[in-house]
Symmetry: C2
Subunit: 423 residues, 2 copies
């Protein structure tokens, strides 16, 4: 563990080994600027850049850190962003006097985290959502189709994915209103579709990655080199309205059930910071994937995931503990598949994993699975129970990697569901 | 018909009543700039703006016409863009001397169309594709499911739509490579998925509209006011690889079968220009749509559509003649539905109609339907036949509205399919 002249508690997500990137503003300066976080301190990287503290990095460009999003910085490439990250680690290391002893600059660049408002860190061109958890796909198939044939025929051969809505992705802390929509006709509705606020608002515990290197249309990304195109990762809540989804999704997939909003954590944790937590994903032998999907064994990361639900004015209940490494298809496989047809990707594109469910009933990544289609209500600490998310509930997801005293975390993505807006 | 001091042939798509907007560059000035087209002349609007020719328009901002995309101009709002359009009509009217007699400016601003390279005119935030032709959905349902129940239960109650890929939308004239991908396992492939270049590359004849006014997340657009949010329209070819689609699309919809590329015409024709061609769409009485989808009767436009296939070094064959007014769901209904859940839209978003098939076999908007799943090959002028699109075929779509001597057209979207790039 590297020690800093800034205080960092041992259980902080934001150790000196992390150095994530984000965008913040403050009451004192409302223009969105680039930042990192160390312990409980948000560090204004635009200020440090203005003072020339990164000018020693070959290929660095001060304007790339001026905001209002990280795209220009990410587009500099990993050799530059990685060197900037290491330079930040150096600047905050205990023995480094450059910033430690520059009281004025330190005062202008370092800010308590609770005084920084975190913003959406990237301009997202396209957003793709995958469906890469075998446990999740099996649970859904068991509930809605046939337990004996829960997985559809294509599932073990390719990372199923679909396009989502970029405009409605919001940063952690932004509340969302329960969506209106059509639902399946029932005897109650005289065979006409139902219409009104969704009664089955659900979270989906996911992680997302940010494209760090663009490709041209027609180009492909090989599974072996896919991580060169991934800048970093975030925690992602792919909000879903199950009743709207059930009625609308054939034959072209989910639409209004998803695009009323998706929530993302504010800090992008780089793949470099996650390297100590690299591990193997599930074995893929039966069937073996096609050659273009066969990559290195250690293709994933051991990242613990948790979901809390907090009713208004009541304590939170942790309803799910899962892990990123449960995913069957790796990020590299997702990206190789996404581009095998020549589809281009652009810096800032976001690709989410799909719901990350684990093998046990307390590791399922959605209320649909945790309450098993409403048949097993989830008990809450305040004595109530949940089948889906109720108005004014706040859902918080956390992600962190921890090993041998080293911790690299993502912070959290939190979002309150507000009542539907009247028509 | 308004007469211009510029020559405009009577069959030109670009009459003085049209005044579409686009982005071009030329060998003489390679920076992308805003333009309109009148007859065979491309008019550099950035040059006219620099000379103050639009300063009389309240709310106009010269920088909005400087390019490299139309988003800033469109964001000025219809009161401004409409007034700019009318001012352009005035400037080019026979009796108006302002530009007619200013030889130097005229020389710098007016360019033969064949010397202008047209570019993608907007930065597309999100792209949505609908599925709004009853005839197309019925044909597909008849071929792949049950002729007696060709339409899925939701189809007559809501405009089915799904999200597409914005990054791979290209302007007319950009060739695309045949995509690779996985296909359904067959006895030939020993029960494993097939893999290689798609054998079923198809066009889809569509029109697309461009969002002209943004909404906030949580906001809704009412069906009565939806057209206030639509800037204009384009012709759109939603390329599809049917064999990839068949294997990948359950349960979350088409993905790699679509996102290898979509082609769009370069000129955005405004709703104002299309107003003389406004007409009623198909009757929606059985069932009646829910109230949020009930809008004005005259909700569509009479726009003739044509598709040509041209093999390399051979004459073109017109394989389809259809009309925009065949669509069951109007653009206003599509937009009201898209936002009923609070999903936000942004200036520059693109929404496509879905394949526009008509009632007769020569009006089907895809090869899948024209050749009826390969069972009725389409004869070509050079003596060959087509079930799907072959390498080096060029597909061209045209759209125009014509009535009482008035013509407002879209020009064309053309694209050649090149052989698959080797892996």
């Amino acid at each position: 563990m590297q020690r800093s002249w800034l205080p960092i508690s041992s259980d902080s997500d934001f150790s000196l080994e992390n150095i994530p990137f984000g965008i913040f503003r403050s009451a004192a300066d409302p223009s969105p600027r680039t930042a990192t976080r160390i312990g409980d301190t948000v560090v204004d990287l635009a200020r440090l850049a203005e003072q020339g503290l990164f000018d020693s990095v070959p290929g660095f460009d001060r304007s790339a850190l001026s905001g209002p999003v990280l795209n220009a910085f990410i587009a500099l490439g990993k050799s530059v962003t990685g060197a900037v990250r290491r330079r930040i680690q150096e600047l905050f290391r205990e023995e480094c006097p450059d910033l430690r002893d520059a009281a004025d600059l330190r005062g202008r660049a370092c800010l308590p985290a609770d005084r920084a408002e975190m913003l959406l860190p990237i301009e997202i061109g396209d957003y793709t959502d995958f469906y890469s958890s075998r446990e999740h796909a099996t649970n859904v198939g068991t509930m809605f189709r046939d337990p004996a044939n829960a997985l559809l025929p294509n599932w073990l051969h390719l990372p199923v994915g679909y396009h989502g809505r970029a405009s409605s992705i919001v940063v952690s802390g932004t509340p969302l209103h329960r969506p209106y929509g059509q639902t399946e006709p029932t005897p109650e509705t005289n065979g006409r579709p139902g219409f009104g606020p969704s009664r089955q608002v659900d979270f989906e515990l996911e992680m997302a990655f940010v494209i760090g290197r663009s490709t041209e249309l027609g180009g492909r990304i090989s599974v072996d080199r896919a991580e060169e195109h991934i800048f970093g990762m975030m925690v992602f809540n792919d909000w879903s309205a199950r009743d709207l989804q059930k009625w609308e999704y054939v034959p072209l997939g989910p639409f209004l059930a998803k695009n009323f909003g998706s929530s993302v954590s504010p800090w992008i944790v780089t793949l470099e910071a996650l390297e100590p937590f690299r591990t193997e994903g599930p074995r893929q032998a039966d069937p073996e994937p096609l050659p273009y999907l066969q990559g290195p064994a250690k293709s994933t990361f051991d990242i613990a995931l948790e979901v809390d639900i907090r009713p208004e004015n009541a304590p939170a209940t942790t309803v799910c503990r899962s892990n990123f490494r449960y995913l069957y298809w790796s990020m590299a496989q997702q990206l190789a598949h996404h581009t095998i047809n020549g589809c281009n990707v652009r810096v800032g594109d976001l690709m989410a994993s799909g719901t990350i469910s684990g093998p046990t009933a307390d590791s399922y990544g959605s209320m649909l699975e945790l309450a098993w289609k409403g048949t097993r209500p989830v008990p809450m600490a305040d004595g109530t129970e949940r089948r889906f998310i109720l108005d004014r509930d706040t859902v918080t997801m956390r992600a962190f990697a921890q090993k041998d005293g080293l911790r690299v975390g993502f912070g959290e993505v939190t979002c309150q569901i507000l009542p539907a807006l009247p028509q």
